[in-house]
């Protein structure tokens, strides 16, 4: 009995300590290491043809802003195809994109889906099969994003490197002022991108393609079998398939794009549950192929990849660790105080994908936004909500044979009002 409880606890503590070391390592790298951004200064080039896909389902509040932003991009218009993929919207989204297509013939080519699997992954799969065949680069944006004028060039620039298969830019919340939640998510994003993603770029590990504000090389996408429509996290899925096939995924910290983060807790909980289920699907699919270490994949890349795949398993593991520690205590089984201390430290500092406190603090410092850092103690609320959400999603997934997944649009609620002023735009 004693060993049956102690051995899993030791495993949990070992995992927590590993993630703690990882977070410290990444943070110290960002604070003191060399900042690696080799492609960001490519401002002049013979720009290739690009197709920008915008999957959308009931996005009438935001899709117009998105298309306006893409039309204002400084990318050569004759080499930029904008492809909104309206997936059986029940609001005015389809009409809005059709109106844009009429107003900007040749520049906007909407696709309307009325059948097949629903969901972003399926929409992307359909879109990339129906359009963009003459474009070497396929970029993807969510409908609520607001790319700046120079963003398309910035995201395309890394593809001049023949080894790059996917690129990811930085996501910056636009609706920060709405609630405590939006302010906390702003801090989380800062830690996740400014520190976590950039450190992985600096260390030549696996920056994750995040499914929006980024893109893939078409030939790489086709080479690994295209977008999969049986996953809830097509971004994590494609990241690992590309890495396993010998492509490089890169992150560009200075390619920033505004997004709308959830403004209420139910939206946030739904979002985090969806991410957890999708990410766990990828964990199930790719941990073994990665561990087998295909040619050209370095050992440290394998370690980083496994840790990246496991970030959404950390929450349930942490809860398991707490439960085991409690059980041992009430059963009168003594464990060393040092182990408990490690667990306690890990509990407060290691929460996988959500970036830990010191990552957030370092990220905010690097961004030069110190006042918002005062909210750091409240992050514990967000993290506790995340642990519970991720754990329940994982348990439900296990109960439903996690490989199968469900396929429907699980979109985040939009809050932007009509005529709302947007940064960098007049009117």
């Amino acid at each position: 009995m004693r060993l049956a409880l102690l051995i899993p606890l030791y495993v949990v503590v070992a995992v927590m300590v590993t993630y703690t070391i990882r977070h410290y390592f990444f943070t110290l790298n960002r604070l003191f290491g060399r900042h690696r951004q080799p492609y960001v200064d490519i401002g002049t080039a013979a720009w290739p043809r690009v197709a920008v896909f915008v999957p959308c389902h009931d996005e009438q509040k935001v899709i117009g802003h998105m298309l306006d932003a893409l039309l204002a991009a400084d990318y050569p218009a004759d080499r930029l195809a904008i492809v909104p993929i309206d997936d059986r919207s029940t609001d005015a989204t389809g009409k809005i994109v059709d109106d844009y297509a009429l107003r900007f013939p040749g520049r906007i080519t909407p696709l309307h889906r009325t059948g097949g699997r629903p969901g972003k992954a399926a929409a992307l799969k359909h879109g990339s099969e129906q359009a963009g065949a003459d474009a070497g680069i396929h970029l993807v944006f969510d409908a609520d994003y607001l790319p700046g004028r120079g963003l398309i060039k910035q995201l395309v620039a890394p593809f001049f490197d023949p080894e790059v298969g996917a690129v990811m830019g930085r996501v910056v919340p636009i609706n920060v002022s709405r609630s405590l939640l939006t302010r906390l998510l702003d801090l989380e994003r800062t830690g996740g991108y400014q520190v976590d993603q950039q450190a992985r770029m600096n260390l030549r590990l696996i920056p994750q393609y995040g499914g929006t504000v980024g893109g893939v090389r078409r030939e790489a996408l086709l080479g690994v079998g295209g977008w999969r429509d049986d996953t809830l996290a097509e971004d994590t899925d494609i990241t690992f398939r590309l890495v396993l096939a010998g492509w490089e995924v890169v992150y560009q910290n200075r390619s920033e794009c505004y997004e709308e983060v959830p403004e209420n807790w139910p939206s946030r909980i739904a979002q985090i549950k969806r991410w957890a289920r999708g990410h766990n699907q990828s964990l199930a699919r790719y941990w073994w192929p990665l561990l087998k270490r295909p040619p050209f994949v370095r050992r440290r890349t394998v370690v980083d990849g496994l840790l990246l795949l496991g970030v959404f398993a950390v929450g349930p593991l942490l809860l398991l660790g707490w439960a085991l520690a409690m059980a041992l205590y009430y059963l009168g089984i003594q464990i060393s105080a040092g182990l408990l201390a490690i667990l306690a430290v890990a509990m407060y500092s290691t929460l996988g994908n959500f970036a830990a406190f010191f990552e957030v603090a370092a990220g905010a410092r690097l961004d030069g936004s110190r006042a918002r850092l005062r909210l750091l103690p409240f992050l514990i609320v967000g993290f506790l909500v995340s642990i519970v959400s991720v754990s329940t999603a994982t348990l439900a997934q296990l109960a439903n044979f996690w490989r199968r997944g469900d396929h429907r649009w699980e979109k985040t609620e939009r809050h932007r009002g009509p005529g709302e002023p947007l940064p960098g735009r007049s009117g």
Binding site: R36, P38, Y39, V40, D41, I42, G43, T44, A45, A46, L146, G148, R149, G150, L151, Q154, A157, F160, D161, P162, E163, G165, R170, V172, P173, I174, N175, V176, S177, L180, R183, D186, T190, R217, E219, A220, G223, A245, G246, W247, E256, C257, Y258, P295, F296, D367, S369, R370, A371, R372, R374, L375, L376, P377, F378, P423, G424
Partner: protein, 353 residues
């Protein structure tokens, strides 16, 4: 009961004390705007120059009609001191502009400066402007040709609508741009230059197509195909005078022999060396150093994470093929030419001077 309540209050206060800044920020937000990072300064080299031009147009348009033409010494509507030289070429001198000139200078007439001046505010020239030696400019915007004399210093930016010629041993901080071309003298130091053609001395042309197609190189059997490129573990040498028809990714060092031609792009995890007259039609990327031999040509961007050295007459890009050279440090030999832009945050230097 009272001692307990007191203790409870004390404990609560003790617990909340570290949260005071958080509670204050929550109650009275001071930092709730979205991060101002999107499109913050644009990588566009002429960004500040274009902004200045817009500013000046707006300010001068607000001047009274009689002050909008001719020689003028006064203030712009925002209070900035201005001197406008219209006809009298020696107006600056007459106005006592010896040594440091702390007014914004607008030049409406072709002007040749004696040299040694220090312009603490921007200089705007509607006509060709020829600077003398050892002048210091905060920033210069020339609508037409601009010549910076030997030993000139630019502190923030310079832009010319026509050709921009930079004298030897000049120091160009910030962003330098031209709508026609930039010709650099020897021993010049700079950080960012953008122009249709940038050369050290007279520009070189991309090489013509070879008279006879070189024989195709058979890649080693261990080369693995990934997409449209081949990946090779370890170092790799492309022999002299051969043709490689695909892109290459090399996990070690890559050498491209004399006169060899790569039709795709190349990348090496270690250094890349192009021997004389070698050609890479696409991009060249390295995680360390790129050395480009005399007369060699790169058709696409040249990216190195440590240093790029362009040999005598080496060319990057072409008149219809704009390209970027980007590395922390860049060295350019005489005749080296880049059609597009050169970005070297730690400094670029031309040979000689």
């Amino acid at each position: 009961m009272l001692p307990f309540l007191g203790l409870l209050a004390l404990a609560t206060a003790w617990f909340l004390l570290p949260l005071v800044p958080a509670l204050r920020e929550l109650a009275r937000p001071t930092d709730i705007a979205p991060l101002k990072v999107v499109d913050r300064s644009s990588g566009y080299v002429a960004y500040f120059a274009r902004n200045f031009r817009r500013y000046l147009e707006k300010q001068t348009a607000a001047l009274p009609q009689e002050q909008q033409v001719g020689d003028f010494f006064g203030r712009l509507p925002d209070g900035t001191q201005l001197v406008r030289v219209h006809k009298a070429a020696d107006a600056l001198e007459r106005e006592g502009a010896h040594g440091a000139e702390n007014r914004l200078v607008v030049v409406d007439t072709p002007l040749t400066l004696k040299g040694g001046e220090t312009f603490l505010m921007e200089v705007y020239a509607r006509s060709p402007l020829t600077g003398g030696p050892d002048a210091v400019y905060r920033a210069v915007y020339a609508e037409q040709e601009l010549v910076l004399g030997e030993g000139s210093t630019v502190l923030r930016w310079a832009h010319a609508g026509g050709r921009l010629s930079v004298g030897p041993r000049s120091v160009l901080r910030g962003r330098i741009s031209s709508d026609a071309g930039v010709m650099l003298g020897g021993g010049t130091v700079f950080e960012r230059i953008g122009a249709p053609v940038i050369s050290v001395g007279e520009p070189s042309e991309p090489p013509p197509a070879p008279p006879a197609e070189p024989r195709a190189l058979k890649l080693p059997p261990e080369a693995k195909r990934v997409g449209s490129h081949f990946r090779i573990d370890g170092d790799f040498d492309v022999p002299e005078g051969v043709r490689v028809t695909t892109s290459l990714v090399v996990a070690g060092r890559l050498r491209i022999g004399l006169g060899a031609i790569v039709l795709g792009s190349v990348k090496a995890h270690r250094a890349v060396q192009l021997a004389g007259e070698a050609q890479v039609r696409g991009a060249v990327v390295t995680r360390t150093r790129l050395v480009v031999g005399a007369g060699a040509w790169i058709g696409g961007p040249a990216i190195a994470e440590e240093r790029v050295s362009l040999g005598r007459g080496a060319v990057v890009g072409g008149p219809d093929l704009p390209a970027t050279v980007s590395a922390p440090e860049v060295e350019l030999a005489g005749g080296a030419t880049v059609y597009g832009q050169i970005i070297a945050p730690n400094g670029a230097r031309t040979a000689g001077g």
